[in-house]
Symmetry: D2
Subunit: 276 residues, 4 copies
């Protein structure tokens, strides 16, 4: 039977040298490259330009800390049971970054990348973004695509990802802040244009304010940075891992997990007792 060779472009070592993604860790990276730029390197196999670094880091830090989310609570409840294994507490928190919360960025990025994907020319490869053809953004191409996107979602009765917010009304302040950073750094391409056009078109069709939200802004910017949609969720996963370590630390100092569990248990018990 044919064997697949085991290859990796991640890292390998010599006794006196460590190679990471094609760089010498000690000579090329340590003291010269930030954690965010290492993340960019993991995602693109190269170091970012100064502009890319600014935009990528802004996008990533948006996702680090969202307070007492279900994910943060899962981490803290897990830590309460297994304080000797804090890595498992962070892991438990990550497990919930699925379709409902962080995963929505992926859906938005997929929407944008599929809409702008050149048709019929190149076969799709997993985890590889095919850049869109040059699109004259001043013309009607983007508007036409936005109309198609909104119509397709409406026909499927599907929610359009990346627009509107149940709490941050009328505008999710992260979206304009992120777009400004992207544009100031030269990232003002078709994905951002399409994301904005989709929001405007949706507002026209659904007759209510549906501005681009943080999810939509990140999806568009990640696409501009060249990240294939299948890995966009990963930006949220790495960022949130950082935030969850912060929650472990806070749980050490100001524990709330047992209180949350006690309240839930007492309320459920009170009800069950009365049903007996």
């Amino acid at each position: 039977m044919q064997r697949t060779p085991i290859r990796s472009h991640s890292a390998w070592s010599e006794t006196d040298r460590i190679h990471v993604k094609g760089f010498d860790l000690c000579q090329d990276l340590l003291g010269k490259v930030s954690l965010g730029d290492m993340a960019f390197l993991e995602l693109t196999q190269r170091l970012p330009t100064k502009e890319e670094s600014t935009v990528f880091n802004a996008m990533a830090i948006t996702l680090v800390e969202h307070g007492l989310t279900p994910s943060a609570l899962a981490t803290r409840l897990t830590y309460a049971g297994a304080p000797e294994a804090m890595q498992a507490a962070v892991a438990a928190g990550l497990c919930g970054l699925g379709s409902v919360f962080v995963g929505s960025m992926e859906v938005a990025a997929k929407m944008l990348q599929e809409a702008l994907r050149p048709q019929g020319l190149e076969p799709e490869k997993p985890g590889v973004l095919i850049k869109p053809h040059n699109i004259d953004q001043s013309d009607l191409a983007i508007q036409t695509l936005a109309e198609q996107v909104v119509r397709t979602h409406r026909d499927r009765k599907a929610v359009i990802p990346g627009i509107g917010h149940h709490f941050h009304k009328p505008v999710d302040p992260r979206a304009p802040a992120l777009f400004k950073i992207a544009i100031d750094n030269g990232f003002n391409g078709p994905y951002i244009a399409l994301m904005k056009a989709v929001a405007l078109q949706a507002e026209t069709v659904y007759k209510k304010p549906l501005p681009v939200n943080a999810t939509g802004a990140i999806a568009a910017i990640a696409s501009e940075l060249g990240l294939p949609w299948k890995i966009v969720r990963g930006v949220g996963v790495m960022a949130r891992a950082i935030g969850l370590v912060g929650h472990v630390l806070e749980e050490m100092r100001q524990p709330i997990a047992r209180e949350i569990k006690t309240r839930a248990e007492e309320e459920a018990t009170e009800y069950a007792r009365n049903q007996k």
Copy 2:
């Protein structure tokens, strides 16, 4: 019964503003702060100085990518079974960052922080580092502590964490590189001095080369940065989460998980068949 109030210094939102660790996300952080500095903020509740940022980021990036570790393989094997849940693949990889691999930094930091902890003065609080008293590092205090540390470990037949390396011989190149960055940025305090002294003392006692390794350097530097030992493993957890997302992406493009599973299964089956 007395209730514990639910408090958090993590994040909270107003409709038009997001507060993260005391900062306004959009005004104070986006575009101004890197992912590594956000990590520092999560761990210390403040932004780093320029020097702290350089040192912290160097320490953190050392831990991002170690190639085909058991943890990376667990992530890739998990991704092969559940590609729709990449967050769970990263979580699976994190679960193995325990006592054998990344957790050893914690043990080394504990060793240093307990040795340098002022005795009998302040009660220990979980997750809080009590700074050592000023120690005249030119005198014998550090050497005396190092001798105690080595003796205690020897008496317990315990391995001294943070020194020696099974592969990077005679010297783990990351340790001097990290120490140089720390010292160039003004971090040359008692934890680094003690870590180096422990290594020298161990070499004297065990009569073989046992230089400080990456684990020891990171433990010492994390202590200099004020991280309590109980959260030091967390630096590894957050860094490795970034690297594991990179492995997910590589697994999409150049899958190896099935091959690894097939080889293991075939070898085990061949043996079992012959035993029948």
Copy 3:
């Protein structure tokens, strides 16, 4: 804002008594009920009849142990890094029970339950199986449904779940064994009939042997037992958790994780070194 009350039918305690799913744990369950029957209780909120117990346990044990699967390897690699947290090793293994492996039972059960669901009468509630109307299985109703199912999948170019097997050819021996147990115990209803009919119809259409496999048999039997498709994967999750504990024990006694990692790392390193 309206609050949702916290309710649970799971368990609650008095000082001298423990209530589990409506039973007194010590008086009603201990010594009288097996682990498999407790699992049935968790899934259906009642204890099984003798026949249901036989069928459910047969179905469940099919899923306990599949050897050196990606999931088992993930558990063993994780255990090698964090032997002090074996629960996290089992968790890591479970994380991979997604769409590719165990999750396929869910897809097959969904296919059967949606095909047999009475149309337009009752609103769907999450996690609740609507029983099919009485179907005269001797007539053409099942055959008609099977034709629809195969046609729909073919039109969507979707793989029909629950039939064929890449290794167990011509027949997956678990499927007839499980069906025999189900039928011997009085479970010979429309879901089993439809699963068999789908396989026959697929063989006719695709002109190759596509008998029901273990996945299909389990999906059909789980449906006969009244499990809604959304929880069918859970039978695999609970069963495999048992098997993964077995792998942790075997890894303690006959470790293979480090060897697997070393081989992968060496092969990747050899290649990387030659590329330099």
Copy 4:
């Protein structure tokens, strides 16, 4: 370099036959063996006698469902974020079965097995229980060991595992129920005797009621069944995985995760807003 061969006693397949732990799955196990007995097989490499089956299943079902524990809440919060990956929700719940909750069984079993371990005769092998020598339980041997155990813990200021309960007072009803089942089935050996003697001795020394609790009973019974202490936590892990699937199902039908998160978030936000 010397290679470790990849071996496993777990399972392997022929095209028409599946071998699990030395049995033919379809002929020997399906329809004949319950899920609990499969669990016993995973832990001991053989099927249980009728008496062992009764005792093992009783022990295991004690651990399936404990209501709204931190672990169950972690599962439910994770499910709320990633309903498409219920295996990850169960995994998140398992991650917290550490030293504080389920892991305590392991500590109690270790205490018993180390106390009764024949000294100096046989080298310890990981994951293998060395049976105690025949101990005349009517004589003073057990009492002497119990006194040693209590004294050792007292000297170390360590909590004695397996005795006392913060809620089930004066007696945890599960302990006598489990002991009765064990004794009725012929399991009345030195581990149970020692566990009881430790509790009596602790009551004498600490001058308060400290009867054996469920943890202690399970640790003693697991030891009687021949399970090495390092895998005892695994009985809890497999049992709780079953219960956590039940919580996923309940969360589908009667969700509470979002409510728990909303309450925590609102209380924390209220406080943070007032601090501003």
